[in-house]
């Protein structure tokens, strides 16, 4: 599904990603772990097509489509969804309005008709229910005044509504309380599908107890320095990144 080859990314004239390769087959969930400042968010922004993240070398291809030639909204239409580490506030635009606009924009780019208001509301109610969200919250300005955990839950709500092909979750677990973590993880698991892949960035093994990854990668110094099965996360939890940071340096 997603294939990244020897990716080099520069931000503000600083080389952050330096020769990263990763292969994520359809139907799989891969976790990325790594020390602060390693370049995890940089990788997710780059895949999502943020301006200012300059790819100086390498490639990123999603099911044969060269991602790097598309802008952010075109990539979203290709099915890329990024759950932000720090979700933005959009004053005056209720979450429902926002998600409906997004859904219709994606449909339009595929030549599909707009979703009807009753269908949309029905789906929104189902998804909000499954994530145990107060529906009234979806009528407030998106993320405005939301707590950190509420914002993260709202990201997963959007993901479930948009049904992406490739979901990148950047520290979705940070800021969630114990119950919320379980609910969000169940939401993510519900989206696991043969034609969908997920990249889960996290600092904590605990999330991976809920969302069992097929592979775990260690990102340090701008590249993948180790990959393994779920047991790698347990090892990192015990021993930290010392070994890999040195390897990367």
């Amino acid at each position: 599904m997603l294939s990244i080859e020897n990716l080099h990314v520069t931000v503000a004239e600083k080389a952050i990603i330096r020769g990263l390769s990763l292969n994520l087959p359809a139907g799989e969930v891969h976790a990325i772990m790594g020390p602060n400042g390693a370049g995890k968010s940089t990788l997710s922004y780059t895949l999502a097509g943020r301006d200012g993240y300059e790819v100086t070398e390498g490639s990123a291809v999603l099911d044969g489509v060269d991602l790097l030639s598309l802008n952010a909204s075109e990539r979203a239409a290709e099915g890329i969804f990024l759950s932000f580490q720090y979700p933005l506030e959009i004053p005056g635009v209720p979450a429902l309005t926002f998600v409906r606009a997004a859904l219709n924009a994606q449909r339009k780019s595929k030549g599909e008709p707009e979703i009807s208001a009753p269908d949309f509301l029905k789906r929104a109610r189902e998804v909000a229910g499954s994530l145990k969200m107060d529906f009234e919250m979806l009528r407030r300005g998106l993320n405005v005044g939301f707590s950190g955990g509420e914002k993260k839950r709202m990201e997963i709500f959007q993901m479930a509504m948009l049904q992406p092909r490739l979901a990148i979750l950047d520290e979705t677990d940070s800021g969630l309380d114990i119950d919320a973590l379980r609910i969000v993880a169940e939401g993510v698991n519900a989206l696991r599908a043969a034609d969908r892949a997920m990249l889960v960035i996290t600092h904590y093994q605990r999330l991976l107890d809920y969302i069992r990854p097929d592979r775990v990668h260690v990102l340090a110094g701008g590249k993948i320095v180790a990959s393994g099965g779920p047991e790698l996360a347990l090892e990192l939890e015990r021993e930290g990144y010392d070994r890999y940071s040195k390897a990367a340096a």
């Binding site: 301006d51 909204s73 004053p91 005056g92 606009a101």
Partner: protein, 488 residues
Amino acid sequence: MAAVKETVRTVEGLGEGYAHGFVTDIEQEFAPVGLTADTVRYISAKKNEPEWMLEWRLAAFERWLAMDEPDWAKLNFPKIDYQAARYYAAPKTDGPKSLDEVDPELLAMYEKLGIPVREQAVLAGVEGAPKYAVDAVFDSVSVVTTFKAELAKEGVIFCPISEALRDHPELVRKYLGTVVPVTDNYFACLNSAVFSDGSFVYVPPGVRCPMELSTYFRINASETGQFERTLIVCDKGAYVSYLEGCTAPMRDVNQLHAAVVELVLMDDAEIKYSTVQNWYPGDKDGKGGIYNFVTKRADCRGDRSKVSWTQVETGSAITWKYPSCVLRGDGSSGEFYSIAITNNFQQADTGTKMIHLGANTKSRIISKGISAGHSSNTYRGLVSAHAKALGARNFTQCDSLLIGKDCAAHTVPYIEAKNAQSTFEHEATTTRLSDDQLFYVMQRGLSQEEAVQLLVNGFVKDVLQQLPMEFAVEAQKLVAVSLEGSVG
């Protein structure tokens, strides 16, 4: 910054997107170029006005000659040559009495602008859709007013002010110039001398006007100024909602528009006054466009009277406008909701004055300014509470949104409290449309243009909600069009 740069570039190209810039080819008669006492006499004669009205105009003209153009606003424009313009232009027909007599060219124009000047068409429209009556002013004259008969059944008078001067002279004489005195300011004084048409509304005691009233102003002639005058009197316990809209052809010479609007409210009366101002703003290099100098004021004479001004200002090269409320009656209240968008080289200096004179008077100001391109957008507001205005309360919120690096936003609030029992709250924010927000929205699949629209709509939402429903939709589209083309 690339995303914002793109936005700025397309927003700059916006002058070309003005949809109302066409000229209607119609035979017109004009006053000779220039402004003298004879011009004033010419206008008054054209309107068949009573003698006292001519005297009133001439007195205003005398006073105007001795006045100077104000220079305190944050506006830059070359000196206006008042002798180079015409002060009267009218289609060459003899005051049409029914729609059949209106020039078909004019009817076609109103159709193109989406203004319902045919009652039948409104009546045959969507079932349950609210009706609204229209007074259509074309350059210096009103060409048609709809639903007059139906309104008359309720005792509501809705007609061109020139007609009111002939049919209800006692009413007009009683109120004209009592809210905005002739010498209030330079432009109001000029208007008093040369005003041509506008609407007159009278709602009798206890009557809730059964439909929305609206006046649609169109400048068509070149080198001609438009000087409209609107007077609305809402008697005890009466209610009316009124909307005005305005457009003009694209021309590369600036044209002057100086209007005066007076609202009078008796005890327990309520007026909702909404404006969607879309005069031609000039092109992307700042050439052409309307100079819009407007004096609007509401006098809440009666206790517990209530007035609200809502304005969506997207057009004009220059906007100088401060719809105000004189809160004279005890317990009266005034509201001002404003969206002002400037782009390219447009300049706006707009805001409101809330003058608290009575006890327990309340006012509320919500202003949303959006500047893009090389434009300048100033909020200027005054809130004052006089000695007797015990318990006066005001809440003011001024938000500015900047798109790009070359535009400017200013907030100039004046506050005066002459008693210790008044409460004023003021909040102000200035934000720049951020790349972070744009990226977040685009990541969900919206194009850059759609993303800008979504963010801007969110920014102005509190004000859009104040407009009557049908117009809110129109206004939202206008906001979008004003900032459209953000994808290069």
